[in-house]
């Protein structure tokens, strides 16, 4: 009797696991399938249907309802994200290194950590009126530079905190030994510390990429034209109520999400490390 109960419980557990995986995966698969359907097939729910690339093609060749092609948005997203990530990782991790290594006058290190905590606490929406006006006055409104600078700033707090966690974990003695052996600070940083924190740098870069690629609100507020706007803004055009370009919606989402999935797949270990970072540190 006990035996059967155990078997049933075991089966129930695996049933729940399978169901949960289906709930996660089916909506995604369904969206990808939908992106290969014509409007007519979709509305009449014909199945099986003949797959077509029509939706993908029409994203790049503007048609009646769609005001603009996706091409400039993709260019903007790639450009802004690439430059922002390349800036965030060195700026943030060098600051983290300095905080961990040196003693500061006037508690500058504390002030920097407090500022980054502030950056994580204040909701972005609260800053949008002032950021809009500031970019307006500074001539950064609707420019790549404005987007890049603000994305670097938005990512700095997380980068500094996570790199601080990684660097704090290194034994101080390694770097001190290098210094005693006659390395300069910079040599010790480059040859001793840098190789040891590479996993941390990858984690920071992954999160900077995810965050910048996904960001929507700020782009909505400080950009205005297709020459500057990133992909999420294009997606929000497609989701307006009176537009019924469902296949195109599926296609655009698929194109937008593919880089995210691919990069995260290669850096999966770093992902869980980054996500649980706050939790494990308490």
């Amino acid at each position: 009797m006990q035996h059967y109960q155990d078997r049933a419980l075991e089966a129930l557990k695996y049933f729940c696991v399978v169901m949960t995986c289906l709930i996660i995966l089916v909506p995604l698969a369904w969206t990808v399938v939908l992106s290969f359907e014509t409007y007519r097939d979709l509305i009449t729910m014909r199945f099986p249907f003949t797959p077509t690339f029509e939706n993908y093609i029409s994203l790049f060749h503007p048609i009646a309802d769609l005001p603009t092609s996706m091409t400039p948005f993709i260019r903007n997203s790639i450009l802004v994200t690439a430059i922002a990530v390349v800036m965030i990782v060195p700026v943030g991790s060098l600051a983290a290194y300095a905080i961990c290594t040196f003693k500061f006058k006037w508690r500058i290190d504390r002030a920097l950590l407090a500022l980054s905590l502030l950056g994580r606490m204040v909701p972005l929406i609260c800053l949008t009126p002032s950021l809009f006006l500031m970019t307006w006055y500074l001539g950064l409104y609707d420019t790549w530079l404005g987007l890049i600078l603000l994305y670097v700033n938005l990512n700095l707090p997380f980068t500094i905190w996570i790199m601080k966690a990684f660097i704090d974990e290194l034994p101080k003695e390694i770097e001190e030994a290098a210094l005693i052996d006659g390395c300069t600070r910079l040599q010790a940083l480059k040859n001793v510390v840098l190789p040891l924190v590479t996993p941390g740098l990858f984690t920071a870069a992954l999160f900077a990429f995810l965050f910048t690629w996904n960001e929507f609100l700020l782009a909505l507020v400080i950009t205005h034209t297709a020459q500057v706007q990133p992909i999420p803004i294009f997606l929000s055009f497609l989701s307006q109520e009176f537009i019924a370009l469902y296949g195109e919606m599926g296609a655009a989402v698929t194109l937008f999400v593919i880089p995210v999935i691919v990069l995260t797949f290669f850096l999966q270990k770093n992902l869980v490390r980054g996500l649980t970072f706050g939790a494990v540190k308490g």
Binding site: G119, P123, C126, P157, T184, G278
Partner: protein
């Protein structure tokens, strides 16, 4: 010489971050404070501004703002509660199924990395009245189709569905990492003492997990108060104002009506609520 060099180096390394955060986080925050005491409007392309204290009095009597706060609170509390219950349940489940543990948590990592906007769009398609997957499933089990995004009450349910689908995996990943790291000895001792599974859960698992549970709840609560992207895409606050959360109301005030001063006041209110909630969680953590 070496000391001088490292003295200069440390400022060289920190100054860029310091400048960024002062200029683009601290300064805008102070500027928002200032704006909240002004009437700042954009009228036909030019900015009109004068000092006034009326924003604070106005916001407390603004029914739409109060309504948006209620919607936000219900959204945050319901969403985070469901995410927590499901995330904890799934965490315990993943811990119990040794063989597929890794595969399961890999699948669960997917929604966490998906952009808010894309999740909003996927759910917009899933909940479509005519061809959406959700209605297809309802029809298969013999129920009638529902107008998810057009109905006042269902639109809010849709929002919760989307949010819970997107973020339960996040709570799961954090709690699962916590469960995996629990010490084994207390549980072995409890088994020897003849404790039931429920007793072990109540008196061992929950108290030991408490610090991690609070961190997960804190992260999720703070993020849920900011929720904007997915709501913007999924319902845009509608139908009517049924799903208009505070962040969306502030956005509309600032960038559709171009009343930037009033929007700043609203933003500060929201920030205050978020800070109060965070302090509440941190107090829980302390005791």
């Amino acid at each position: 010489m070496e000391i001088m060099a490292s003295e200069r180096l440390k400022y060289l390394l920190t100054i860029p971050s310091f400048l960024f955060l002062s200029f683009f986080t601290l300064l805008p925050l102070l500027y928002t404070f200032y704006l909240s005491f002004t009437s700042t409007k954009i009228v036909s392309g030019s900015i009109q501004q004068f000092l006034t204290f009326s924003n604070y009095g106005r916001i407390l009597q603004d029914d739409l703002f109060i309504h948006s706060l209620k919607v936000t609170l219900v959204f945050v509390l319901t969403g985070v509660f469901l995410e927590f219950v499901l995330g904890l349940g799934l965490g315990l489940l993943a811990h119990a199924v040794t063989r597929v543990r890794f595969l399961f948590s890999s699948v669960m990592a997917i929604p966490v990395i998906l952009p808010y906007v894309s999740v909003g769009m996927i759910w917009r398609l899933l909940l479509n009245t005519e061809f959406g997957l959700v209605n297809s499933i309802l029809r298969m089990i013999g129920l009638s189709k529902m107008t998810w995004l057009q109905d006042m009450n269902l639109a809010f349910v849709s929002l919760i569905l989307c949010e819970v689908w997107h973020w339960t995996p996040f709570v799961f990943l954090i709690l699962f990492a916590g469960i995996e790291a629990l010490p084994k000895e207390p549980f072995q001792a409890a088994i020897v003492d003849g404790a039931s599974r429920l007793q072990m859960f109540r008196y061992l698992t929950l108290p030991l997990l408490k610090p991690i549970i609070i961190v997960a709840l804190l992260f999720r609560t703070m993020a849920a108060f900011r929720a904007f992207d997915a709501i913007y895409v999924l319902t845009h606050g509608g139908p009517g104002n049924a799903t208009q959360v505070t962040s969306l109301y502030i956005y509309k005030q600032a960038f559709q009506i171009f009343d930037l001063g009033y929007a700043s006041t609203g933003g500060l209110f929201l920030a205050l609520v978020v800070v109060l909630f965070s302090l509440f969680y941190l107090r829980l953590q302390g005791t």
